[in-house]
Amino acid sequence: MKRANPRRQRLAALGLLGIPLLSFPLLSLPQGEWAGLPAPFLYLFGAWALLVGLAAVVAEGRD
């Protein structure tokens, strides 16, 4: 039997990580301001961009 595609598994793992990271209750943690900007704004875009960056590394990197 061929082993399941490791790249796809890693991407799926990122997806499973992203679900709790970008939804409640974790989203209720950033409150007030971080570095002069609203914390939720920074957190959402930060976590989201991080996820996209990791996906890029996994998808484009070598097996």
């Binding site: 039997m1 595609n5 790249r7 796809r8 598994q9 991407l11 799926a12 990122l14 997806g15 992203g18 679900i19 970008l22 939804s23 409640f24 209750p25 989203l27 209720s28 950033p30 409150q31 301001e33 002069g36 900007l37 609203p38 939720p40 704004f41 959402l44 875009f45 989201w48 961009a49 996820l51 996209v52 960056g53 996906a55 890029a56 998808a59 484009e60």
Partner: protein, 888 residues
């Protein structure tokens, strides 16, 4: 728009020339057709009331794309079965059912046409804002600008969506154009974002600080935990929409030219979403702050803000961006819907009704294109009528999410179909109908009611005044927003019916076969099973006739030629009309008219025997078993090969041993005969000649005694050797002091050395650890080595030195002599039986030739080694080691 035409034409030209311009980047960007004018204008509007919650619509797709395995499976299934729309996909899975295909098409059309109307409205509204300031109308009053736009869009769609009938239903020019408009709308949106954030306000920080200081607006900056349920529901909803909206399915699955492109799309498209969303909240806040105290429409902030500062060029760019967003969406959505309407609604009906004589007509490919073109115009006309009728009504504004909820109904039948073989057609129909009905009752009709088109009674008091049937608080489920409420109930009913009915119904034969092909798409590399799932008779003429009629003659002939070449034949006319050929024809037709209609058409010319469910299941089971068996067989074969190799090796060894035994016997006989011959000769002389004088007699008897002793020694050693080799030797292993053994051996042989006048010296370490060995055997080795040494050193000047060294792991004993030395070959040979040092041809043998082999056997028995280091003229050093007992 002219530029879009140019890009699309260029893309089509390149595709026709066989050089696709669809790269991974183009594919990823074309996915951004997801961002419609609803994103472009509507997100800002949503942000003015809901703060950051608009982001859920873009986070969902990001997460969904990460599950690339699901999407790859969809692409692979669609490619192997030539499926060209989501309706076709679902219908094909559940036995190529025309009923399901039609049902999915109806749901998609009802769900999506209002969404197209929304795009038209957005274009019209943005045009109003752009021109409103000047109060001019560039068209005569009888021409409604929105109608003109709709007509232009229809024209463009017809030109590039139905240029020719392709069996794969791909439109490379259109994809290129969509990717291009994606770039345009991103640039436009980021430009206006930068302008407002940095040009009108002092950057993010200032904008946020001013918002925080404004009463009523500060709540937009924080997340509301009370909305946790809505947040999750919207992520789920948008995650499903990104693959199930007809236009998304078209772009992701149907237009995919290479599965590996998905690797780029997995991150590039989400990156696009991040970029286009960064400025949404700043724009919303900027608009709210700027237009404080004035009447405003938050949906047009992106236009009114630059206009308020007189940046008309920027406003124009924004308008073009918005127009791009609307155009891209409308074109792709319309193409996808027109394919579905043509293949899954009109064709089945036409084929059935003989009134049109469709079944007899010569070339139907033109008719197919005609139907699609009419469908495109009809869809856009419907959208326009809906736009006119709805106007500013709620039913239009909220339609984005309502559309999403409609296509989310496809999820159970799709995912179930891809991963669950037991899902049946009855289950899928029940689930879809149930979910759609709930969606209609809890979402679409209430939106009509809010627009004042129908009575609000069923929303406020429940149907027939029954409180439990309130449309947006079904069975008293309150506290959710309307979208979450509808999504929850509709998916609950949908999944429940799908699973329940599936488990209590039996699939028919075709369904069971399709279920296998869908779920195990990655395993079905061969066509063996496919071929066996169809049995019947068909004529090549009729099948080719079908292809000609639906694909057009030139295209059909080309596909046939390709297929024949794939089977290694020069001419398609010599193709055997077997199950595989029928399947090829059906697949080709399926690309043109949908899988359900294709099946009906093929069945009309081919006499298929009904296999029955049980037989199909048998064949499938058999196929699974055959796969398992072949794997087992392969393993067994490997085992067998290994065993054969082992046997061959053993055989070689046996032969070698046999040869050695023969050699041994002949050598032993020879060695025994030599002393016997001299004993016999001398005895005969003594016996026959009594006159022999006493001196000679004494000398002869001495020789006889010596030779007899040698014979005895030889026989003893041969016996010893035989015992060692057969493993019958008796060993008594005990703790042994090697140093003591060496000293004893030197003492017992001291006389021999003194007789020959050879110096013997010992260099024995003070403390030598004890080893585990047989004391007598080790003594035998030592005596052997010493007597060898004394034999080969010259008398008088000969010196023999014995060293005992305790190493880390073993005790090492060296016997060093200053004899003639050995050549490298001799160093090896002397350890073989009956081989002696020196020239045996000229010199009298000085030993039995068994001492060293026996010694080596003994040392190796205890885990040590025996070897010699020597070169000619430099003496020889015999070394043996005995390992120390392992530490506990």
């Amino acid at each position: 728009m002219g530029l879009l035409f140019a890009v699309a034409r260029f893309g089509d030209a390149r595709a026709d020339a066989g050089r696709s311009i669809i790269t991974a980047n183009v594919y990823a960007l074309s996915l951004a057709v997801y961002c419609t004018s609803w994103t472009f204008y509507g997100s800002v509007g949503r942000a003015t009331s809901g703060g950051l919650s608009f982001l859920t619509i873009y986070i969902g797709p990001t997460l969904m794309l990460l599950f690339a395995g699901v999407i790859v499976k969809m692409i692979r299934i669609a490619k192997t079965q030539r499926l060209t729309s989501i309706a076709d996909f679902i219908a094909a899975r559940y036995g190529k059912s025309q009923l399901l295909a039609g049902l999915v098409t109806v749901i998609a059309v009802i769900g999506v046409v209002p969404y197209i109307a929304l795009q038209l409205k957005a274009v019209a509204a943005s045009l109003d804002v752009l021109l409103g300031g000047q109060g001019t109308n560039f068209l005569p009053a009888m021409f409604d600008s929105t109608l003109v736009i709709a007509a232009l869009l229809a024209l463009f769609t017809i030109l590039f969506g139905t240029r020719h009938l392709d069996a794969t239903e791909r439109h490379e020019g259109m994809v290129a154009a969509v990717a291009f408009e994606s770039v345009v709308k991103l640039i436009a949106f980021v430009a206006v974002g930068l302008f407002v954030t940095y040009g009108m306000f002092g950057g993010f920080a200032e904008l946020f600080q001013r918002t925080a200081a404004t009463p009523g607006l500060e709540r937009l900056l924080q997340l509301d935990s009370a909305k946790a349920g809505t947040w999750a529901a919207l992520i789920l909803l948008s995650g499903l929409a990104i693959i199930f909206l007809p236009r998304q399915f078209q772009i992701i699955v149907v237009e995919n030219v290479d599965e590996s492109h998905l690797r780029r799309a997995v991150w590039l498209f989400p990156l696009y979403l991040v970029l286009i969303n960064i400025f949404v909240l700043p724009l919303a806040l900027g608009g709210l702050l700027h237009f404080q105290g004035q009447p405003f429409n938050p949906d047009t902030f992106v236009l009114t803000l630059p206009l308020a500062r007189g940046a008309e060029t920027l406003a124009l760019l924004v308008f073009i961006g918005g127009l791009s967003a609307a155009t891209g969406m409308v074109i792709v959505e319309t193409i996808a819907l027109s394919t579905m309407i043509c293949n899954d609604l009109v064709m089945p009906w036409l084929l059935r009704s003989r009134r049109f004589g469709v079944a007899e007509r010569e070339d139907l490919s033109g008719l197919l294109l005609g139907i699609r073109r009419v469908a495109i115009v009809a869809i856009l006309l419907l959208g326009y009528i809906y736009f006119r009728a709805a106007g500013e009504a709620y039913a239009l504004v909220g339609i984005g999410l309502i559309s999403f909820a409609a296509v989310a109904q496809f999820a159970p039948a799709m995912f179930g179909g891809m991963y669950w073989k037991q899902g049946t057609r009855a289950g899928a129909v029940a689930g879809l109908l149930g979910g759609f009905a709930v969606w209609l009752y809890t979402l679409l009709l209430p939106s009509f009611a809010k627009s004042g088109w129908i009575d609000k009674g069923f929303v406020e008091h429940g149907l027939f005044g029954i409180g439990a049937l309130k449309a947006q608080a079904l069975f008293g489920l309150a506290g959710l927003d309307e979208i979450s409420h509808s999504l929850w109930w509709s998916l609950f009913v949908n999944i429940g019916l799908y699973v329940g009915v599936s488990l209590w119904s039996r699939p028919d034969a075709v369904e069971a076969g399709q279920a296998e092909r869908f779920v195990d798409v990655f395993k079905h590399a061969g066509r063996g099973t496919d071929a066996r799932l169809w049995r019947g008779t068909a004529s090549a003429e009729e099948l080719v006739g079908l292809l000609d009629r639906f694909l057009g003659r030139p295209r059909a002939r080309q596909q046939l030629a390709n297929y024949a070449a794939g089977r290694g034949l020069d001419d398609w006319r010599s193709l055997p009309v077997d199950a595989e050929f029928v399947r090829f024809a059906e697949t080709q037709l399926s690309g043109a008219i949908g899988s359900a209609s294709a099946r009906v058409m093929v069945a009309s010319v081919a006499k298929e025997e009904d296999l029955g469910l049980d037989e199909v299941l048998d064949i499938l089971d058999e196929a699974t078993q055959v796969r398992a068996y072949s794997r087992e067989l392969e393993a067994k074969q490997h085992e067998l090969e290994a065993a054969t190799a082992e046997l061959r090796e053993a055989n070689e060894r046996l032969r070698e041993l046999d040869r050695m035994k023969d050699d041994f016997i002949s050598t032993v006989t020879h060695e025994l005969r030599t002393p016997l011959t001299s004993i016999r000769a001398l005895s005969e002389m003594l016996h026959e000649d009594p006159e022999i004088d006493i001196d000679d007699r004494t000398r002869f008897l001495g020789i006889i005694v010596n030779e007899a002793e040698r014979l005895t020694r030889l026989i003893n050693q041969i016996l010893d050797m035989a015992k060692l080799e057969s493993g019958r030797a008796e060993w008594t292993t005990s703790e042994v002091d090697v140093a003591a053994i060496v000293r004893e051996a030197m003492d017992s042989l001291g006389q021999l050395f003194r007789d020959k006048n050879v110096a013997l010296e010992g260099e024995i370490a003070d403390s030598v650890p004890v080893v585990l060995a047989d004391r007598d055997r080790l003594t035998q080795v030592m005596i052997n080595l010493l007597s060898n040494a004394v034999k080969f050193v010259p008398g008088g000047s000969g010196r023999v030195k014995v060293r005992v060294v305790a190493g880390e792991r073993a005790v090492r004993v060296e016997v060093i002599d200053n004899g003639p030395g050995l050549t490298p070959e001799e160093c090896v040979v002397i350890f073989e039986k009956f081989r002696q040092g020196g020239n045996t041809m000229t010199d009298k043998p000085q030993g039995t030739g068994l001492g060293l082999p026996i010694s080596r056997q003994i040392v190796e028995y205890f885990g040590g080694n025996l070897w010699v280091e020597s070169s000619p003229g430099a003496g020889a050093t015999f070394v043996f080691t005995v390992p120390l007992p392992a530490h506990e």
